[in-house]
């Protein structure tokens, strides 16, 4: 599994709340048959049940749920919201949705994502990018 496909990246100015942001972030995975609509609800349920630890770094969240029937194919999608969205008192600008079909295939990708996230500048550079092409370049250079 590679990192995020360019077709699965989006930039928007604002979102009314975090649920809307996650829904928009997950839309490319829904459109391409990676997930069913149930998975989006499961991500919301996970936040209700487990709290906000999916906010892994300042300004960054990794919405996901448990591997289930609602995931047809393992994949990632990315959304930048220029105006920070409130996720239960955490301001978030960058959402990366993780859809995992099982608990192993995505592990290498997550390991390199972890390295990417440890450097706050990487997150800021993605948030400040002007285009999806720019985001793709940043990610391909620093998350591999």
């Amino acid at each position: 599994m590679t990192n995020v496909k360019k077709e699965h990246m989006q930039i928007i100015d604002s979102a009314e709340d975090y649920e809307k942001a996650i829904e928009i972030a997950a839309q490319p995975l829904l459109d391409d048959g990676y997930i069913t609509k149930d998975y989006i609800q499961q991500m919301f349920d996970t936040i209700e049940k487990f709290g906000t630890y999916i906010v892994l770094a300042d300004k960054f969240a990794l919405p996901h749920a448990r591997p289930s029937e609602a995931v047809k194919k393992t994949g990632l999608s990315l959304l930048v919201v220029k105006e920070a969205v409130d996720l239960k008192d955490n301001p978030v600008n960058l959402f990366i949705v993780l859809a995992a079909k099982d608990s192993t295939t995505h592990q290498d990708t997550l390991a390199s994502l972890a390295e990417f996230l440890m450097e706050p500048k990487n997150i800021d550079d993605v948030i400040n990018a002007d285009s999806v092409d720019q985001i793709k370049t940043i990610i391909d250079e620093r998350w591999n």
Partner: protein, 95 residues
């Protein structure tokens, strides 16, 4: 020494937490094994310390007897984790 990184399902966030702990251990020049898992399995590892979200501390106290628990707010914040690792090492020295 065995450190457990725990999240809700053991698939995404705990993997990130594990990587950050490993990196922080390297910076501190401390050797330890780090394993990631979910809440329900956390009791079966016999870990020396458990790193997890503040939201899970209460739950894990019930599930894992005599566990040393170190809450971490941001799983990819290496400095926060370094602070908790230092605390863990002090706690172990004081035993």
């Amino acid at each position: 020494m065995k450190i457990l990184a725990v999240c809700g399902f053991g698939v995404g966030s705990s993997m990130i937490l594990k990587m950050t702990i490993q990196k922080a251990l390297k910076d501190l020049e401390v050797e330890a094994e780090v394993v990631n898992t979910d809440l329900s399995d956390a009791g079966s590892y016999g870990a020396d310390a458990i790193f997890t979200s503040p939201d899970f501390v209460g739950d894990l106290e019930k599930r894992v007897k005599n566990a040393r628990l170190y809450p971490v707010k941001k799983y990819s914040d290496k400095e926060e984790i370094k602070g908790q690792l230092k605390k863990m090492l002090e706690d172990m020295d004081n035993d």
